[in-house]
Symmetry: C2
Subunit: 127 residues, 2 copies
Amino acid sequence: MAKPQDQQLVEQWRSIQTTYFHTAGALDRALESKFSIGLTEFEILDLVAESTDAACRMKQLGERTPMTQSAMSKVVDRLDKAGLISRKSCEDDRRSLFLELTDAGRALHRQAAVEHRALLRENLAKD
Amino acid sequence: MAKPQDQQLVEQWRSIQTTYFHTAGALDRALESKFSIGLTEFEILDLVAESTDAACRMKQLGERTPMTQSAMSKVVDRLDKAGLISRKSCEDDRRSLFLELTDAGRALHRQAAVEHRALLRENLAKD
DNA sequence: ACAACTTATATGACACGTCATTGAATGACA
DNA sequence: TGTCATTCAATGACGTGTCATATAAGTTGT
């Protein structure tokens, strides 16, 4: 009944899902237990950390992650409350916000990134 | 500062995430609007539909999806309440449950599967 | 046959993401 | 300059997932 090419598509999709779930789960649990931040929080830290120029507005970040604007706003809010990031309003356009890591944020990111990369290596390695 | 091999890992991961988010989002929205079921619900229907033998206990399904046992239990509960699936207790081991599609469930699955495969094709196609 | 352990599923508290909406600032244009 | 539309971010209501636990049934060893 099922077309073989459909079967193959479905399997490809399930494989992506499985990889995603397992990897995301492992990352989330590790970051949570060792650094008390979730994977989403780390991902924002990571994006802010790697953005060299000052043009690090939330809007730009939104273009670099599949996260919703709403989700981002809440994550950034948590990071702010945790003292890992700071939001400064931008003079050019007062609707925008500039994000930057605090010292604590930078330190935590540096450590967490090591763990993060290591787990990616474990999980994404071709078996 | 960042090792190039790490960069590559990170990009591989982000690519998986993006594919996963976009595809899952598209599937979820389409199934929700056209058939009033979420992606997770569809996935359970799909698994039950493709399990030929009667040995379709929740436990087995759990082995075929990255979903949590808890999550599965709730999804199945919703499907049951929606009249798309039925849980019959198993005589051999009364802790287990057999799942099977109702007629409505089978009909809905048949239609939804077409949409599902089509969207997978759109989203997973190599660009 | 009785404890102690293990396994299959359900459930409650809680956290997070989504959608829709709001508030505020900007742009466009007559 | 005043109106209308657009853009950036925040928020509240709501659904669904997760963890820890509960419930119930099966298993093992004595």
